[in-house]
Amino acid sequence: MELESILEKHFGYYSFKTGQKEVISSILAGNHTLAMLPTGTGKSLCYQLPGLILKGKILIISPLLSLMQDQVEQFKRFGEKRVIALNSFLSSEERNNVLTSLSSYKFIFISQEMLRIPFIMGRLQGLDISLFVVDEAHCISQWGYDFRPDYSKLGDIRQKLGDPLTLALTATATSRVREDIIASLRIEKINKIESTIDRPNIAMYVENLSDYHDKKDRVIELVTSLQKPGIIYFTSKKAAEQIASLLVDKGVCRAMPYHGGVDQNSRILIQQQFIYGQLDVICATSAFGMGVNKENIRFIIHYHMPMQMESYLQEIGRAGRDGLPSIAVLLHSPGDEQLPIHLAEGELPSEQQIDWLFNRLSDEQRSMDVGGQLPNQFKEFGGFSEVQWRIIEDFVYSPHRHSSRLEELQAAFKKFINERFIVKKKNIFQMKKWVEATSCRRELILRYFDEASSGKVPFCCDQCGLQLNDYQTGQLAPMPKANEELWKDYLAKILINRELSK
């Protein structure tokens, strides 16, 4: 069957998006493939569709647990039930159930920490794997902004699984990172499909303010005048909360905060309210956006500077998925880089914390549990955050360090942490340089990702003379009136289909 008709029959789409067909054809021709496609262009389809044709299993390695859950749901919406996510969300009973019936699944999502467990690896080795997918493959490289030490072992794991056909997916990787991915996966011949990371319908605008405190008023002005819906990204939860209530209280728009401190149930509702147009603006930390597919987002505002170019690109990439003109505004004031530096520091365990921990670790404790679990009370007593703790576990249990002695390990770990901090700082200054640049911003981004310029874009960036008022609403839409619907009417609206009862 032709690829297009499979696409239509199974997914209900009439044409491929940029790059999809090339990647799928490359896989079906049996080539290892590295695909770099812009955010939100449907990278998942690049393994979903081949999965329907290839005989064996599709194994997908994915770094983010929450993302995995979204993807499983996406599959189910297309009517694909043979899909499972193997991660630490499963209870040990559920996990055992899944493992005994593993062969009945077609698509298997797995997190890298599960691959550490020899028993699970054993089960995977017994499967016929047609395609080995590495999602968010930039995590492999220590030059990638979200380096996961465990990811660098995927080369080993590929070998153990018998060198299966491999697809590495990423949206944002510099050429250096791409080289790292290929080397790390130990693939000799790989087909590279790299579409441009440029999103020509997203204009970029950096606005300099002389004082951080001016941002509040400015963001209200912007949100009032810009076409909605939109997302405002923050680095701090508190600021996100504050601006969201300001927007609501001033009657500017329907807004809600969204961050790690919001409970799971409310998060789902807020995300869905946004998708269904019941909210105009989300005030979010980077926790928001992953797996959110809303076509018509018209603006992204950055209240704070992101930690690196890659995140910036990912975040503004949520705008304009319908191809219509959209704008990304970054508000900048002197000294803004301090917050991300502070944050970068906080993501890594401190010297004292490391010393404290190693004083309590004994060699035997380390070798006891191969599953990769340090005693949890250490995490609590040492005051380690989730992120810090993950870094420690990844490092201490990485197989090639298993033989080293504790003091060596401690020294190596400190060195590793230092290097990470240097990389992070470098990324922040790269970002700062871009913010302060006086030449075309699009060109600079392309250059950062080693791409040749694709020619002039009509609505490009502030440096190319972009005017914000092109993105403003013609007339100021009044905020929808306070809803006075009665509960019985609401209930009738959702439960009784008048069309049907006619």
Partner: protein
């Protein structure tokens, strides 16, 4: 925060200065310690057990402070308070939420809400013949429950919505002292996403704490009414499937109970389970509270039982220390057992 304040005022009245305010905090949180469980029984506060699980210590302390500043309560010992006349009249003017029944329902209230909200979402999308939507509920048990309900329920799919609608309206309409808006606007349906708790509170112009209490009050009302009239609310009755029979004992006490039934003494059980004797004693107190045919006679002879009860009634106290001073022959454990078994009659 009128609703929460009146609950706290009521609790303070019942406690009569014999416990600290934190016993109220633990009570509202539904803390599964034998002390909290016993207090709920002793002071007849079972209805409020676990009705505000998400309440944080900080907000609780803020509320107490606010109540003190408004002179609704006054200090009567370390971390102990009693209602002032103003507080008492406030309580008189703000009756307690009538349907709260934390003791019987707290363990499955959340599950009931998860079922109800997911059931409505699925029904609504059925009615509008939509099959592609994101479930707002992630709990796998709730998904399994729903699947089995859809298999069993004997109602034509096309009429589901109308039937659920009329059952819900009928059920709500039987009570005049609740506002169903607190719950209904949180429901998600076809292309219409429900509000979060804080959004609903805002829309109804309620303080967040009062919103929460009001919401739980409605859930407990629904649970009770559906359960009582299961033959009338035939579809809603599925929401209650397998919820009520849950054993009230904590997991650990059940293990202790097994050993007890095999004839082990408290000391032997403590040894066997590598637990402190005091923990095992806590379990026994739990049995005295919850297990109807559990006899305490082997631990306290009946004469001593009568004595302890008399002293407690006579001096109108449930303070262990005071009782012990007057009945030195009894141990604390024995006093707790007696109060647990007969204290609230």
């Amino acid at each position: 925060m009128a609703r929460l304040a009146s609950i706290i005022l009521y609790c303070l009245t019942q406690l009569n200065g014999e416990r600290t305010i934190y016993s109220i905090f633990h009570l509202l949180n539904g803390k599964k310690s034998s002390q909290t469980i016993q207090d709920a029984h002793l002071f007849s506060l079972k209805n409020f057990f676990g009705v505000y699980e998400p309440l944080t210590r900080e907000s609780f302390e803020d509320i107490i402070q606010m109540m003190q500043e408004s002179e609704w309560i006054y200090n009567c010992g370390e971390q102990r308070f009693l209602p002032t006349p103003t507080g008492k009249s406030f309580l008189g003017n703000h009756p307690l939420p009538k349907y709260l029944n934390g003791w019987d329902h707290h363990s499955f209230t959340t599950q009931f809400w998860e079922r109800l909200s997911f059931f409505i979402q699925v029904t609504s999308n059925l009615v509008f013949q939509e099959s592609r939507y994101i479930p707002i509920q992630k709990n796998k048990h709730v998904h399994q429950w729903l699947k089995s309900v859809l298999r069993e329920v004997r109602v034509p799919r096309k009429e589901m919505g109308t039937i659920v609608y009329s059952e819900l309206v009928e059920c709500f309409d039987e009570a005049h002292d609740i506002d169903p808006s607190l719950l209904v606007f949180r429901l998600t349906g076809f292309q219409q996403i429900g509000l979060t708790a804080s959004q609903t509170a805002k829309r109804l112009q309620l303080d967040y704490h009062d919103y929460h209490i009001g919401f739980i009050n409605i859930l407990h009302y629904l649970i009770r009414n559906i359960n009582e009239k299961a033959n009338r609310f035939t579809v809603l009755a599925y929401l209650m499937q397998d919820l009520m029979q849950e054993n009230e004992l904590t997991f650990s006490s059940r293990k202790t109970q097994k050993l007890l039934n095999q004839g082990y003494s408290p000391e032997m059980i403590a040894n066997h389970r590598h637990l402190k004797l005091s923990t095992i004693e806590d379990h026994f107190v739990e049995f005295a509270l919850n297990v109807k045919d559990f006899s305490i006679d082997t631990f306290v002879d009946t004469e001593l039982q009568t004595k302890i009860l008399e002293i407690s009634k006579h001096s109108a106290t449930k303070k262990l220390k005071l009782i012990r001073e007057k009945v030195p022959a009894a141990t604390y454990f024995q006093i707790r057992l007696v109060l647990a078994k007969y204290g609230d009659r």
